[in-house]
């Protein structure tokens, strides 16, 4: 690291690399908005607001809340499909969320190094162009599968209202509800998984900001502009 030859090579490295293409960025922020709407409206569907006075015909509060929930649900589901498509046609960074290299020893070494970094057991984090291995693992294991679970159970619950014969019922409710035993448990798990996503979001935002400040590359602005900037000129761990 300290030889002058290596240093000269490092200096030739680009100061910024284009990582997240526009569809990934747009999806990220639309999805973030949809999840926020879904979590808030979903909570108020389970625990409704204080009762409205007057005639029933004067109000449609639950109706609007449920409409917002269903609309945001469609946005999330269609966005998820679009994101899946982009994983196939986009750059290699667009695939990380879907295909973490779980069978690579180097990957798990990286995960362990990141854990040590967050436990203050090492002075310096590795530098990555894409996601760090721990982030990749958690995004895949928690965020991706929880989102898919919410989409499937969400449509199953929606199908209960749209009724037998609707495509939502045929494609989702007809097998999801018997799988859980009855509708009540599907509601409970849909509700519980909302909290799993909430925990993910809390940690995700905290660590994105923390990494932006403390790590060796840009974080938050990367998801806005698409460019990853680096704070030192040493080579990244996942460089080619």
């Amino acid at each position: 690291m300290s030889t002058t030859v290596e240093k000269r090579n490092d200096m030739e490295m680009a100061p910024a690399i284009y990582v997240y293409e526009a569809p990934v960025r747009i999806w990220h922020w639309i999805n973030a908005l949809a999840i926020t709407v879904l979590a808030v409206t979903g909570y108020f569907i389970a625990s409704p607001l204080p009762t409205m006075s007057g005639e029933a015909s004067d109000h449609f509060l639950m109706g609007y809340i449920r409409f917002a929930h269903f609309a945001a649900g469609y946005v999330m589901a269609i966005g998820f499909l679009g994101r899946m498509y982009w994983a196939l046609v986009g750059n290699s960074h667009a695939r990380q969320l879907f295909f973490p290299p779980l069978f690579s020893g180097e990957f798990w070494k990286g995960v362990w190094h990141e854990i040590k970094w967050y436990l203050f057991m090492t002075k310096e984090p590795h530098k990555y162009i894409g996601h760090n291995p721990l982030a990749m693992l958690v995004m895949h294991m928690v965020f991706l599968w929880a989102s898919l679970f919410m989409i499937v159970t969400g449509f199953a619950l929606y199908g209960e209202g749209s009724g037998m014969g609707s495509w939502q019922f045929d494609m989702f409710s007809s097998w999801v509800i018997p799988l859980f035993g009855q509708s009540m448990d599907v509601h409970t798990w849909h509700h519980m998984t909302m909290y799993a996503i909430l925990l993910f979001v809390m940690i995700h935002i905290y660590l994105a900001v923390r990494e932006d400040i403390m790590s060796r590359q840009s974080m938050v602005s990367t998801m806005i502009s698409g460019w990853r900037m680096f704070k030192d000129s040493r080579p990244p761990k996942d460089g080619k």
Partner: protein, 369 residues
């Protein structure tokens, strides 16, 4: 030859006019087009009665109680005689050896032809000793008869899902019909505690008329009665959509008949026909009487927590909680963790800066030396 249904009805003093009324009402209840009334009448006039064996396991007999109170004009007189109800130990005249002999006789005469109706369920623990019929475990009787029947009707939540006998901790290991029998036979589940009388009679009428099982959903319930939730057809639904709820059972909302969602009504998760057919000659149903649905026709409804709470209990972690308690608790822990971690990160960062400065300082000192 066995009598036809029509002959039985006429013998019981039922006029042809009443008989035709019954046929059209049944067609309507089954959701069939008007021309099916004639079809039903025709099969009633021409088809011999199908023998039915009605067995009772661990139960409270509420299914029978409901059945004999069918508000259908002729049901209480006719349905019971319509089906050749060969064996039903709670209402049959015969008793003891004589009664038990009828089972064997029916099996011999109508092997593979008769319908087996089951009320209640069989306990598996202690080789079924928790339910004894005629000196033998009910489990044995059930398996013996099930082997020879054409298909099975599971009356009520006991036979369909297990109901109260199967609620945790289920000491007798009571199991629903489909888990108790060793032979695989088609099963129609008619859940409810009890099922609605008109639903029971209509299911039987359908079977007799068309000589086949009604269309079932994936859980084995007749679609015509269990395809919609109580919530979907509830007359209080406009109050739900408007956001008007009963907050407590004695509040203004309760008096005005607002939606019972917030006091734990299980209508949105319960598939049954209560809000359309109602009970006791269509008089009322629980929600109309001001109490939320308890979800008695759903699998495991005893073990899902309070009847007055929307969120089911979560007991997997050895504690009593619901999704909100678990979720908000976890969020609080993670939130505290984040704040602590952020604070520690700031301290560490400050320390590292000092260290670097000191190292740089000492290097400079050394250079100076």
């Amino acid at each position: 030859m066995t009598e036809t249904f029509y002959e039985v009805m006429r013998r019981q003093g039922i006029s042809r006019r009443s008989f035709l009324k019954y046929c059209s009402l049944t067609a309507a209840a089954l959701g069939l087009a008007p021309e099916f009334a004639g079809k039903i009448a025709h099969s009633m006039e021409t088809k011999p009665r199908i023998p039915v064996l009605w067995l009772h396991g661990l139960e409270c007999t509420c299914c029978s109680e409901s059945f004999i109170r069918s508000a259908h004009p002729l049901a209480k007189d006719v349905i019971l005689s319509m089906i050749s109800l060969d064996y039903d130990d709670t209402i049959m005249a015969a008793a003891g050896t004589q009664a038990e002999a009828i089972i064997e006789e029916t099996i011999k005469k109508y092997d593979g032809e008769f319908v087996l109706a089951i009320e209640g369920n069989a306990p598996l623990n202690q080789e079924g000793m928790s339910c004894i019929i005629a000196g033998k475990p009910f489990l044995e009787q059930l398996n013996h008869v099930a082997k020879h029947c054409k298909f099975i009707i599971s009356w009520g939540s006991c036979a369909s899902y297990g109901c109260v006998q199967a609620a945790a901790p289920n000491p007798t290991q009571a199991v629903p019909t489909h888990k108790a029998i060793k032979t695989s036979k088609p099963i129609i589940k008619v859940p409810g505690c009890p099922p609605i009388a008109e639903v029971m009679t209509a299911v039987i009428t359908y079977i007799l008329t068309f000589e086949k099982m009604p269309e079932l959903d994936r859980q084995g319930r007749p679609k015509m009665f269990y395809s919609q939730r109580i919530h979907d057809k509830c007359y209080r639904r406009p109050h739900f959509d408007a956001g008007q709820f009963v907050e407590k059972f004695d509040d203004e909302g309760a008096r005005k008949g607002y939606c019972l969602y917030k006091v734990g009504c299980k209508g949105p998760t319960t598939y049954n026909a209560c809000s359309t057919i109602r009970w006791n000659e269509g008089t009322s149903f629980p929600i109309q009487a001001g109490h939320g649905c308890i979800g008695c026709s759903e699998d495991g409804f005893w073990d899902k927590g309070s009847w007055y709470a929307r969120l089911s209990d979560i007991t997997q972690f050895g504690i009593e909680a619901n999704a909100d308690k678990v979720g908000l608790g976890a969020a609080a822990v993670v939130g505290t963790g984040i704040v602590a971690h952020a604070a520690l990160s700031a301290v560490k960062a400050a320390q590292n800066k000092n260290d670097t400065l000191q190292v740089e300082g000492s290097v400079k000192e050394q250079e100076n030396v």
